[in-house]
Amino acid sequence: MSSPPADDVAVSADGVSKSFRLPYEQVSTLKEQVLHPTRRRRHDVLRALQHVSFEVGRGEVFGIVGRNGSGKSTLMKCLAGIYRADAGEMWLRGRMAPFIELGVGFNPDLTAHDNVLINAVMLGLTPDEARSRYGSIMDFAELHEFAELKLKNYSSGMQVRLAFSVMVHVDADLLLIDEVLAVGDAAFQQKCYDALDRARNEGRTILLVTHDMEQVQRFCDRALLLDRGRLVAIGDSRSVGRQYTQLNFATPSQREAIVAARLRNAGDTGVVVIVDAWAQSKADGRTTLLKLGEASGVAMRVRFATPVEEPVFTFRLTDEHQRLVLAMSTDRRGYRTGSHAGGDEIDVAVGFLNHLAPGRYWITAQVAQAGATEVLALREDAYSFVVDGAGAGGGIVALPHHFEITPAPSMQQGHA
């Protein structure tokens, strides 16, 4: 992929890797180097990003989540042109404004006024444009009365306000935001959200790094999950958010197992790739909204890299509390699933009458070898859909039911 991405793609990363050398001892004197020119500096290699690929569409709000040290900030810094990636290719479309480590690089000895001008120029405005926007930047930050105060006398919240305000005023097409909304009071946070909403409505693209799952699920269209530099999941922000939470509360060994399972299906090198999964209804086709009692189903699109005989397809539906509600497998019923050649792409759908209780559900799709001995591809909680239906009584299923009200037999006897 050495050519620009499609017109509707704002950010594309292909196989991006970045390692850092962590010397055991920081050797930074010439003497050490002169005295021991041949001694190799001992160091650990921290693989901060490993072969990360994704695309973000224009106008999309895209979340990047992961635990501390998972590589989120490194990814942002590579995209922002602060770090140089070791491998891989990145493309951006349009002017980019970064907001990294709570700020845009202020000089503490300068006044807010001067810092705003410097940073606006840093982010791509001309000095004249910077001066003409200065007023609206300070309006937004609500810091006019402190304009001539040196930055070192600002509270951290005030600095973030100022920095955020500069960032949203430089007309960037692409905003890279790393952990911003954690600081600042509630009122200003709301203002930031409003500003980001406005940016989104104007068709700008936003990449948001955050720990706050609520933020991701409420604000982002899609998200990706990083774990120790590896891309573990990408997709619908609710499902990624759930996976993050799951990963976060797992023990280290559980976490490894989860990540390993996810990576197996995330990689394109596998025998089988689950390209897509979705819910559908007889009436609407592919949809994210199923109606109670309607003929519905779920489906997956599968691509075979090498020939596979009689694979086993499984769907699992889990509810919001991560309870398994329904498992459907071709194995259980002794279906013949056929033999598939390398390069084949097929759709596997299963239909059911929708008696799931109203609520949100996640689809897990799996392809296994004949006899279900080895999992070939797995996408956990890949997509979600909502079951809509009024009048359901409660519980995890809404089985069709009817009431009969009749006199008890004893009463009938009594009458006879």
Binding site: P4, T29, Y83, W91, I118
Partner: protein, 280 residues
Amino acid sequence: MSTIPEAYRVRGPSAVGGDARRFWNLARTLATMDWKVRFYGSALGYVWSLLRPLMLFGIVYFVFAEVLDAGRGIPHYGVILLLAMIMYFFFSEVTGTGVTAMVDRESLLRKVGFPRAVVPLAVALVAAMNLALNLVVLVIFVALTGVEPRWSWLLLPIPFALLLVFATGVSMLLSALYVRYRDVRPIWEVVLQALFYATPVLYPIEAVIDQSETLAKIALLNPLATLIQESRHLLTGAPSAESVLGSPTLLLAPLAVLVAVTWLGVKVFDRMAPLAAEEL
């Protein structure tokens, strides 16, 4: 946003790269702000940038020209002393501030992607503004001491331009090295001291020739010395560097040193500066 913006490949931080106008805007803005920081909290503000060299030169002039009479028999000794000091101070300001420039700008380097060479260039611009003010002071001294005007004054911008290039080159070299090797700073402080005495600043080149002509020639291998001597020659008709060296072609030697050091500075900066954000 109806038009689709152009897609471009992210290549990571660069030393120069990108748009020349943006580069210039950045360097200019940074330099202006540095200039402002300098005079915060002082009652006389910018006046100091004129007053300080004026007083400093006054003292040096008094001590060396009047008390010690170091320039006995040298025409316009006071003026050429000031000229040399101005040039040396410019070099020492650019390189001395330049050493720590990248590290001082850490917060910016770690947060914004921009062509890294803006940082040493801004340092050179600030020093150049200072130089311009100092030259005003020099003009006052020239007028007061009655140096007769010469056509050769028109050529004075040449050694000054070369000085700017050389100082910026050295500053790029030092600033890039300092990110990884913090010993560069103390070493450079000593080197600057040594250069001050190895360069004919306080003393006229004639004093060296009196000692040994070879020594004078060796001294002029230092581009700083040659540039200062040439400027002195153009200003007051003091012996030119080529006359001390014995032949104009020998001027190529200090010029080669200048070009080599500058080239090395640019190369090293180009290699190391893009990685600065990771090493800071």
